[in-house]
């Protein structure tokens, strides 16, 4: 649907849903949940996906889900708007890359730039925001790089491996966004030959 440099954003369909249980039990889930260590069965994952599908259908879930797909077709994870409030023109972002081999390689940032453009240029959002935790250095670096502002720090909000950590709130206003092309130029992102 949207073509990036390293990845494309595509519908979050069967290829992705089939990986959900594996990702739910993997390290990605720890980072995505702010410190939870989940041990979930296939049936539990199936039930969660069922609830999600029903919420989307009934309109209770106002989000937009994309799959992040590598150029060779590998499903990498989720990128999307997890909570959209049209009357505030405000959308919350959420992302997850299931396989650690694809962390810190620019795949997530590539997908993020695509979804930011989508939210501003197609859904006419005024602001995008997201939350992460004070121990998630990868996301913090990514936010600074892409141009988000750290707006709030919820003290000792979450527990990870026995330690309390702050929750971080990042925001990006439409007026602060130069557009994907300009951001790619600014960050010097390039298409890479794989393998």
């Amino acid at each position: 649907m949207f073509e990036g440099l390293l990845v494309d954003l595509v519908p979050y369909g069967k290829d992705f849903l089939d990986r959900e249980n594996e990702w739910a039990n993997a390290e990605a889930s720890f980072w995505g949940s702010g410190g939870d260590r989940r041990v979930v069965s296939r049936a539990q994952t199936q039930a969660r996906l069922q609830r999600w599908a029903e919420a989307l259908e009934s309109g209770h879930d106002t989000g937009v889900a994309f799959g992040i797909r590598a150029k060779d077709g590998t499903p990498l994870g989720f990128m999307g708007l997890t909570w959209v409030l049209p009357y505030h023109r405000l959308a919350m972002l959420g992302a997850k890359i299931g396989d650690p081999a694809y962390w810190s390689g620019g795949y997530g940032t590539d997908a993020l730039l695509l979804v930011i453009d989508y939210a501003f240029d197609w859904l006419d959002m005024h602001k995008l925001w997201l939350t992460t935790t004070g121990f998630n250095r990868r996301v913090m670096r990514q936010m600074e790089k892409v141009g988000f502002t750290l707006e709030s720090r919820a003290r000792r909000e979450t527990l990870a491996d026995g330690q309390w950590h702050d929750g971080l709130f990042y925001g990006l206003l439409r007026t602060e966004w130069p557009g994907r092309d300009a951001k790619i130029e600014q960050l010097g992102l390039r298409v890479r030959a794989e393998g």
């Binding site: 410190g35 505030h88 405000l90 709030s152 919820a154 003290r155 000792r156 909000e157 925001g171």
Partner: protein, 211 residues
């Protein structure tokens, strides 16, 4: 009922449900519920909200009233995140004569007492629109720390308004007895409202349900 210094926490039913049809359509409701769309709430929507909160396993809507039994408004704890023992706290004043009074502040303190001292939470989150000075002052008096500002976060009457975020941790909560003693809460002396007319009586004259 949980008894406090100036107010008591009571089930959100009877007179509260009657008043709520008015309260839920007034500005104070939307100031307290910053994520909601500004829209009219007919009787059905009000009833559904109460029912939804009654079924909510991660939160509750609780009424608070003066010692004379005069309903003031509601307190809500919600989105309880059990793994990290965290809740959102919301105070709304329905009877605006009590806006900014120590009774209203006591409603917030009673909510904090309940979540910290009964439910055992670790952290309470609270939010206020940047112009809502009365609410922000209440948070400060209750011991919350201002943790940040979500810029231009909420659409309000033609503008984007900042949302101020606050947090209070269990080891910062001195206990209800201590904080109410420190704050020296004083009753406002506001006269209780007359009891609302019962809906059934209005509809059926005799007050009895048909058949």
């Amino acid at each position: 009922m949980i008894e406090g210094k100036l107010v008591d926490l009571v089930p959100f039913e009877d007179d509260f449900a009657t008043y709520f049809e008015q309260w839920m359509n007034e500005e104070s409701w939307f100031r307290a519920r910053v994520w909601e769309r500004r829209e009219p709430h007919p009787e059905d929507a009000v009833k559904k909200f109460i029912e939804k909160m009654e079924k909510n396993e991660h939160g509750a809507l609780i009424g608070f009233q003066t010692k004379d039994g005069d309903p003031i408004g509601g307190v809500i704890w919600d989105h309880e995140w059990t793994r990290v023992r965290k809740v959102d706290a919301i105070l709304f004043v329905g009877d605006m004569r009590y806006e900014g009074t120590d009774e209203a502040l006591d409603g917030l303190l009673m909510l904090l007492r309940y979540v910290f001292e009964t439910r055992g939470v670790h952290r309470v989150d609270a939010a206020a629109l940047a112009f809502d000075e009365v609410r922000i002052e209440f948070y400060h008096r209750a011991g919350f720390s201002h943790e940040g500002t979500l810029r231009q976060h909420v659409r309000w009457d033609g503008d984007y308004v900042d949302l101020e975020l606050f947090g209070l941790l269990e080891d910062e909560w001195p206990g209800y007895e201590q904080i109410t003693a420190q704050l020296d809460l004083q009753p406002s002396g506001i006269e209780p409202k007359p009891k609302p007319e019962k809906k059934d009586e209005k509809k059926n004259g005799s007050g009895q349900q048909p058949g």
